[in-house]
């Protein structure tokens, strides 16, 4: 009986390195994309889930991340793990999505003559714990930077490269994100809005 929880190839096959997989992907090999998906979909799903809190968005963003990775595989720099690179692509897509949503919200707000919120409203809708709610109060750039550093374990240099911002911006965002998160947590725990 096949145990479907783990694919056989994941269990005990000598693994092809990420760099080799990316080379195969750049050559248009579908199997390499399947292998890459098997390796990283769960981790990326968690990252996107924390960043968006919307399961419908997560599926679409995950799909778009791997597709974008496949299309730019030939530009992969050959590092041993492509996880930071994939997280970076996912973060870029999140940023673009926010910009698109932001433009839409601005247009709608101008029609209704109301002030659009600086933060993405969707994470708040799905936040469950006080940390979730406090995290949702951060602007998306700060939230993404903080998650990439503290949860995904990316270095500041990797985050800067992934988000295409100067490293000083990453440091500033991290500092501000920690400060705001602590303040938001204090407010959550003391029952203030």
């Amino acid at each position: 009986m096949i145990q479907r929880g783990h694919k056989p190839a994941e269990r005990d096959a000598p693994q092809t390195s990420d760099a080799e997989l990316m080379q195969q992907l750049a050559a248009g090999q579908l199997g390499a994309l399947g292998e890459l998906y098997d390796r990283y979909q769960a981790g990326l799903r968690s990252f996107l889930g924390r960043a968006t809190r919307d399961s419908h968005d997560v599926d679409d963003l995950l799909h778009a991340t791997f597709l974008a990775a496949a299309k730019s595989a030939e530009r992969y720099d050959g590092r041993s793990s492509c996880r930071p690179w994939l997280v970076g692509i996912a973060a870029q897509l999140l940023r673009r999505r926010r910009q698109t949503l932001g433009r839409l919200v601005a247009v709608l707000a101008s029609l209704k003559d109301i002030q659009p919120s600086a933060t993405d409203p969707s994470p708040t809708l799905h936040a469950r714990t006080d940390v979730d709610r406090a995290l949702a109060r951060l602007s998306q750039p700060k939230r993404l930077t903080l998650l990439m550093a503290e949860v995904e374990g990316l270095t500041c240099a990797e985050i800067a490269e992934a988000l295409a911002v100067p490293i000083g911006t990453v440091w500033t965002r991290l500092h501000a994100a920690r400060r705001e998160l602590r303040q938001a947590l204090d407010a959550e725990r003391s029952g203030k809005p």
């Binding site: 009986m1 096949i2 479907r4 929880g5 056989p8 190839a9 269990r11 005990d12 096959a13 000598p14 195969q24 248009g28 090999q29 579908l30 199997g31 390499a32 994309l33 399947g34 292998e35 998906y37 098997d38 979909q41 769960a42 799903r45 968690s46 889930g49 924390r50 809190r53 399961s55 997560v58 599926d59 995950l62 799909h63 791997f66 597709l67 496949a70 299309k71 469950r128 714990t129 940390v131 979730d132 995290l135 903080l146 998650l147 550093a149 503290e150 949860v151 270095t155 500041c156 240099a157 990453v170 440091w171 991290l174 500092h175 920690r178 400060r179 998160l181 602590r182 947590l185």
Partner: protein
């Protein structure tokens, strides 16, 4: 306020974050670490930032996607990538030719659609290229979203026809215990008591994915139904954990079928038992890492049980074991055989590169 007071209390407090973010180098790290050992304010700040990070890591992630959803998304991704690799027709002459063919196709479709109907079947809903017939007692619903049409069957029987000559969305039939994906077909599907009880394909093919069972491709003339669990044996049930029943696939085409072409849901017990034993033996060799033996056993399984529900898995695992055994020639041959046999197989995308 508290932070401001702390900053006044220790001018080096900012170095806590600098250390964490990798802004300190070489001796700066060593010096600050020795300072933090003697400064309770900096030590507390370090602890506070660490706790903040732990709190972030412990935030609930969305519910883990179930296996079927992951497999479906994986298939969707590979199909999208595959489509992106397809060459785009270039010359205007080719475009003109394609337009002419498209126009002819539209005319032919219109003629076909306008022909007098010979049957009085109760078509319940046909707003697009998917026609669904359902008995009045069938519990079902349909939903279209973006490029996906989902039909959910709770109980009863549906007969579905997908007209692939017309623009259409991907069609998924959600079953109580799995799902069924259309690959261009006319088929019927039944469910009862939270289980799929019958799938019959009249034209084209479908991929049936049920929980805890391998994906199964059913083609025109095939009929699937779950095998009934063997009658409980009191003595045996104490000693041996019950095995899940193996499904059976029957083909209406005698030339393709190796099992009797019966509509009875249960296949002969002897056949099932043999195929299950053979498959387990091959899997045992596979999991123990004896790839040469596993590939032989999978090949033997395919020879003896070509229509078994595990046949596609066996064909794929044979390719995998030959690859692991370093037998490139036989692996290519096995991959080619898999592709020929399962042109819509679940592992097609993975096997295809290995056939070259």
């Amino acid at each position: 306020m508290k932070a401001r007071a702390a900053e006044l209390a220790c001018p080096r407090l900012f170095e806590v974050e600098a250390l964490r973010d990798g802004r300190l180098t070489g001796t700066e790290v060593t010096r600050f670490q020795s300072h933090a050992r003697t400064c309770p304010i900096c030590a507390q700040e370090m602890q506070s930032i660490t706790e903040l990070a732990e709190a972030l890591r412990s935030t609930a992630t969305p519910p883990k996607a179930d296996e079927l959803r992951v497999r479906r998304e994986r298939t969707r991704l590979l199909a999208a990538f595959d489509a992106s690799l397809a060459p785009i027709p270039g010359s205007s002459r080719t475009k003109l030719w394609l337009a002419a063919v498209a126009a002819l196709t539209v005319v032919a479709m219109l003629a076909w659609r306008l022909r007098p109907s010979r049957t009085a079947a109760p078509v319940v809903a046909s707003p697009n290229s998917v026609q669904v017939q359902a008995a009045t007692t069938t519990k079902w619903s349909r939903r279209a979203e973006n490029q996906l049409e989902t039909i959910t069957l709770e109980a009863g029987t549906l007969s579905i026809r997908v007209d692939h000559q017309r623009p259409h969305r991907r069609l998924l039939v959600m079953l109580p215990d799995g799902e069924l994906e259309d690959v261009g077909t006319t088929f019927s599907v039944s469910a009862a008591a939270a289980h799929t009880t019958q799938v019959t394909v009249q034209d084209g093919s479908v991929i049936l994915r049920l929980r805890d069972l391998p994906a199964l491709t059913l083609r025109a003339g095939d009929s699937w139904s779950p095998a009934r669990a063997p009658a409980p044996d009191t003595a045996a049930s104490v000693l041996v954990p019950p095995q899940p029943p193996l499904p059976s696939v029957h083909s209406a085409n005698p030339a393709r079928a190796s099992v009797p072409s019966s509509s009875n849901a249960a296949a002969p017990a002897g056949n099932n038992s043999d195929s299950a034993t053979d498959f387990r033996a091959a899997m045992s060799a596979f999991t123990s890492g004896d790839n040469a033996r596993a590939s032989s056993l999978f090949a033997a399984f395919l020879g003896q049980h070509p229509r078994d529900s595990h046949a596609e898995d066996a064909a794929y695992l044979r390719v995998l074991t030959l690859q692991r055994a370093g037998n490139a020639g036989d692996m290519k041959q096995a991959a080619t055989e898999y592709l020929a046999r399962y042109p819509h197989g679940f592992r097609y995308a993975e096997v295809e590169p290995l056939s070259h």
